[in-house]
Symmetry: C2
Subunit: 344 residues, 2 copies
Amino acid sequence: MRATVMHGPGDVRIENVPDSQIREPTDAIIRVTSACICGSDLWPYTLMTEGEPAQRMGHEAIGIVEEIGSAVATLKKGDLVVMPFAFSDGTCVFCHEHLHTACQHGGFFGNGGMEGAQAEALRIPQADGTLFALPVGPDDALMASLLTLSDVMGTGHHAAVVARVGPGKAAAVIGDGAVGLCGVIAAKRLGAEQIVIMGRHADRLALARDFGATEVVSERGEDGVARVLALTGGLGVHAVLECVGTDQAMDTAVGIVRPGGAIGRVGVPHYEAVPSSLPLFFKNATVGGGPAPVRAYIEELLPDVLEGRIEPGRVFDRTVGLDGVPEGYRAMNDRESIKVMVKP
Amino acid sequence: MRATVMHGPGDVRIENVPDSQIREPTDAIIRVTSACICGSDLWPYTLMTEGEPAQRMGHEAIGIVEEIGSAVATLKKGDLVVMPFAFSDGTCVFCHEHLHTACQHGGFFGNGGMEGAQAEALRIPQADGTLFALPVGPDDALMASLLTLSDVMGTGHHAAVVARVGPGKAAAVIGDGAVGLCGVIAAKRLGAEQIVIMGRHADRLALARDFGATEVVSERGEDGVARVLALTGGLGVHAVLECVGTDQAMDTAVGIVRPGGAIGRVGVPHYEAVPSSLPLFFKNATVGGGPAPVRAYIEELLPDVLEGRIEPGRVFDRTVGLDGVPEGYRAMNDRESIKVMVKP
């Protein structure tokens, strides 16, 4: 079968690899019907270092169950399923606490030697706990939005939940990538009255406005902070959704958060320590977040997708086949594309 | 009148200073009946630098209202009051949100040129919003515990609230100073089932056990983390009360917090950036806290003090007059004393 393999910075290839196989009785194999390229895939695409082992890529997919292990009880061949970016057994103490990304028998796809979803098929460990069977067929018109439940929509929602967005609150979303845009959807959905999007790409900002952003701030650093403060009567926002993962973004987050407010960070942090410790302290603000337990959020978000109340699938602005994946990485890295869908 | 003035590291003096005076119509003057030395006073006592202006010291007191400005409406001469370590107007948006330490017209005593409480008297800005009149006389047997409502008990409580301590939870308190000990009281009071105290002073740890600590860990660094993990089935604690303020303590906090858990930090951070950003992220743990809004907590904690359900006043193990204040600093700095009460 064919799969995407990252060999080094800018060196992403489509290769022939051995067919995915059941290894544990709790495994399933899915045939991927749609996958995508994630903003986080761009980190190794730009920063992978000499000597790092080649890695199968992709952690977001919808697919059809092709084979199940002997212990898989809740799925059957032919089911159309969402694959969250992390696998989880669904039964451990953390899964019961709805923190599936801390599962005691879990892990991440397209990472640390695991198979990836930018491929014709892949092996799913802990299939019963991981996969979520959809009540629609593979040609459903909502497929793009359903696909976002595997990562970006759940991740934007996580940022909003951790940032304690609620009715009447002022929120700011740092970053106009696919996760930031889904963060706008999530903030709106949870009742935020004011939603400031911070970004610099006209097409993305237009989409953010469609999704519910009330103001756009394109300045960065101190100027950006000053603009958000000016938009909030000098107080700052209750909720910051930090959807970038750099220390500059976190500095901005601390600068714009209102005293007593909360920052939800969901971009994998590319910094050793959280900056602005002292201002954060004197504001009594909270920093939380991490890999979103998207498996836990599917049930909550799915009805809104199926009934058309949210349209996160609009973040996709390009679709490629497997052969187009390297060009998809380039387009996303050059900010020509917000998010690329892959139809293997 | 006489007051405590810090001139440099180890150089704390009792001096004659001009009598405190009403400057604004919202001011009051209180005659201090009891004050104390705070662990945070030891930071300038050890780290004050050449060229820093001399500073009046002390931010915790109970006193008697001696004079009020023309706009003071809720207090009268002779009232016995608790003075929280921060002043606040009680009417701004943040005071209404019970975050008095972010008051738009507030500030901190014994800091930035403000008068201090280790003195015969001091000026209280925003007296109506700041002072809390007590329903007892100045010779009440509970005076020591009441005095802790000006800072350490409210601060320990804040750490527990931010760390989301609740019934059945596992909590750990880092630091066996007066705030850490009050954190143990707070964790117990909020229903924690397991309370690990991390510290190395036998007298303090014994008091922590009296207050409700279920286990003691005296190892530090990785060994300390390993011990707490062993005590919690490898999972870590739901709630960490970080009552020290060093990056080592915060590293430990991140090491022992359970995935999805929360860290409440109340020691003024003596680090530029919050360490262990990546483990914190992958644990989906939250860091919050800051200067405790003790003014907001007095009403909640006072009944428990008055009815003897909590005894935070037991953290005082020495009482001095004003002349004994320099020796009090030395004793606390040398860890001979947990907390020193000052009777001017």
